[in-house]
């Protein structure tokens, strides 16, 4: 049960993220929801990387058979960087939209439709 805690956290974070995206109307809050969802996936992957009795791959002289493959960590790091880039781009879009439309309410940002 204890070992499932990270996965329970993943599910909780996903639900919070999805609810934020779908229920909030403020653009910035929707971006926060996307970030929470990204964090949930990151936590999921990093939790997969845990191996009981394994040795962290930062120690040069360990027996190589017991060393844990660092792939999930590398994936998460890459994913975090991508998430930062996405957040930056989304927030800069929000700045321009606020300047031109005068609102960050997602219901009012529908110049393009049909």
């Amino acid at each position: 049960m204890f070992w499932n805690l990270p996965y329970i956290a993943v599910v909780l974070l996903s639900v919070i993220g999805l609810a934020t995206i779908l229920l909030k109307r403020n653009l910035i809050k929707i971006f926060l929801g996307v970030s929470i969802l990204t964090s949930a996936v990151n936590l999921f992957i990093i939790a997969l990387g845990y191996r009981e009795g394994g040795i962290a791959p930062i120690y040069t002289y360990a027996v190589s058979e017991n060393m844990v493959m660092a792939t999930p960590q590398a994936l998460t790091l890459t994913s975090i960087v991508i998430g930062v880039a996405t957040s930056a781009l989304m927030l800069s879009f929000a700045v321009i939209i606020y300047k031109t439309y005068g609102t960050v309410n997602v219901d009012e940002i529908k110049e393009l439709k049909e």
Binding site: V41, L89, I109, L112
Partner: protein, 524 residues
């Protein structure tokens, strides 16, 4: 003729050249605008040449491997790794080679066009950087053999595309389109990453060949497949997840729109690659095949009916892009629905897949051409509103001819290439289910009807007052369009040559899961 170190490292250069060129272009731009234009053109030409070289190698010598960081570029499984291909491996089979060919051809024509069509804008130093970045990301998506690597390139292409869609700002409307595209792409990316996590957690591998070798059909695999299909179908604009398509396509600069079509098709490639190569016959092929067919049919019908009442030329064409994506989904979906039944596959499944894949090729060419003509019209008239156009045929003769070629090709009128692929789809889908084939033909007729409307309202009639200053488009724009128009005509008049040499190997590469696995893992 070509030095050995270039042919060995060609798959890596395919990504390295556009990336390096992208980030050097702001520096070159400090010298002068012409230097930057020359630099961008040179980088794109080099990328195109490498792309053709890679495609040529794949078509003549079979699947091409490139292992990053290995002492030997084709050493996929290191001897001390216990049989796991731990490195990032580029696996280019015939399907990838076809997509590379499409991407570099459209990329070259579009860059040539963009050099004059976008030369009036400000902020060009960033524009060309992002543009080359997007082309590099598309090339990466279609050539990688690693799931996580695919995700990274998917995200790079999403970010670059969203930046380019928002590039014009247009009182915030372009930014709104970019924002919608970015939100959809990000959610798609999160879905995809979640699927990667599920697969990695079960099989401890990210390499597609390795996963394909081990994959079961557990409930977790089903969840992963659903996430991937939803994410990539949304990215390629299948109904009912197509809403971002008209927004993004209509607000992006026209050259970018033509490239966005290719970016969507790279997502489509990912969808097919994962369904066929990663899951293969372990998945419930009839169900997934029908899911893809239904997505395709919905895209065809809703795309074309939404296009007919549109009043913005690029929005109209964007809905047609949705509708044409439906043909590709239909053709390949029929192939997937009969994947496990060799007799049916030989009877009509392969032909349907060839039709769908040929349509990817054709669509990239004629849709790119149509968006470029729309861009030339908007460049000269200054508006994209169809109600304010008319009589342009008197002044823009070449643009009109290119528009006619593209419009007849998209409507499936012989002898242009759109008919060749639709012919394959009609005949083979008719054997699968006559109703689907009839729907496809009706959608084709509606497509023709809606392009007759565009043709009439833009080019026909007397020259309208207010359009006196309209001239023919600049020459580099015309050259870009000529390249695509020539390909549309040639592949329409000699379809058998293209199908035999480019399309059929790609279709066989998709169905040949065992061949893909053995190319990477070696042996059985």
């Amino acid at each position: 003729m070509i030095p050995g170190y270039i042919t060995t490292n060609a798959p890596a250069l395919l990504i390295a050249v556009p990336l390096l060129g992208a980030f050097l272009s702001p520096l070159i731009g400090k010298i002068s605008r012409d230097a930057r234009a020359l630099w961008v053109l040179a980088v794109m030409t080099l990328t195109a040449l490498i792309g053709y070289l890679v495609a040529f190698l794949v078509y003549t010598e079979g699947t091409l491997l490139y292992v990053f960081g290995a002492t030997n570029a084709t050493l996929a499984v290191p001897p001390d790794s216990g049989g796991i291909p731990i490195r990032i491996i580029f696996t280019l089979d015939a399907m990838s080679a076809l997509m590379v060919t499409i991407a570099v051809t459209v990329g070259f024509a579009v860059i040539l066009y963009s050099l004059s069509s976008d030369s009036r804008r400000s902020g060009l130093e960033a524009y060309y950087t992002i543009f080359l970045l997007m082309i590099g990301a598309i090339l990466g998506m279609v050539s990688t053999g690693d799931l996580f690597n695919f995700f990274v390139f998917l995200e790079i292409s999403s970010l670059a595309s969203a930046g380019l869609v928002a590039y014009k700002v247009e009182k915030g409307r372009a930014v709104e389109a970019g924002l919608k595209y970015l939100l959809v792409s990000t959610i798609g990316g999160i879905f995809f990453l979640f699927a990667i996590g599920i697969l990695y957690g079960q099989y401890n591998a990210l390499n597609m060949a390795m996963l394909a070798d081990m994959i079961q059909w557990t409930p977790l695999d089903k969840l992963a497949l659903v996430l991937v299909v939803a994410a990539l179908a949304a990215k390629c604009g299948a109904v009912p997840m197509h809403f971002w398509t008209p927004d993004a396509y209509s607000m992006a600069p026209s050259a970018v729109t033509a490239m966005l079509v290719v970016a969507s098709q790279a997502s489509l490639y990912g969808l097919f690659r994962i369904c066929f190569t990663l899951y293969g016959i372990t998945l419930n092929y009839a169900t997934i095949g029908w899911v893809i067919i239904i997505l395709g049919i919905l895209s065809m019908i809703i795309g074309v009916t939404m296009a007919i009442p549109q009043k913005d030329i690029k929005r109209l064409m964007a809905y047609h892009a949705v509708s044409q994506t439906g043909y590709m989904l239909l053709g390949v979906g029929v192939g997937l629905a009969v994947l496990g039944d060799q007799a049916l596959l030989n009877s009509y499944g392969m032909t349907a897949m060839e039709g769908g894949i040929f349509h990817i090729f054709n669509h990239a060419m004629y849709k790119g051409l149509l968006f470029l003509t729309a861009g030339a019209i908007i460049y000269q008239v200054g508006t994209s509103d169809l109600n304010r156009m008319g009589g342009l045929g008197h002044r823009m003769k070449w643009t009109m001819i290119f528009f006619i070629i593209g419009a007849l090709a998209i409507a499936g009128i012989p002898p242009f290439n759109g008919f060749a692929s639709k012919f394959l789809i009609y005949e083979s889908v008719f054997a699968f289910s006559p109703l689907l084939s009839i729907i496809a033909m009706v959608v084709s007729i509606l497509t023709l009807a809606s392009f007759v409307k565009v043709f009439h309202s833009v080019f026909m009639g007397p020259p309208l007052p207010g359009n006196e200053q309209v001239r023919e488009a600049p020459r580099t724009m015309l050259i870009g369009m000529t390249i695509l128009a020539a390909i549309v005509i040639i592949s329409g008049v000699f379809p058998e040559f293209f199908v035999q040499n480019l399309i059929a190997p790609a279709a066989h590469a998709l169905t040949d899961q065992a061949g893909y696995i053995s190319a990477v893992l070696g042996g059985a």
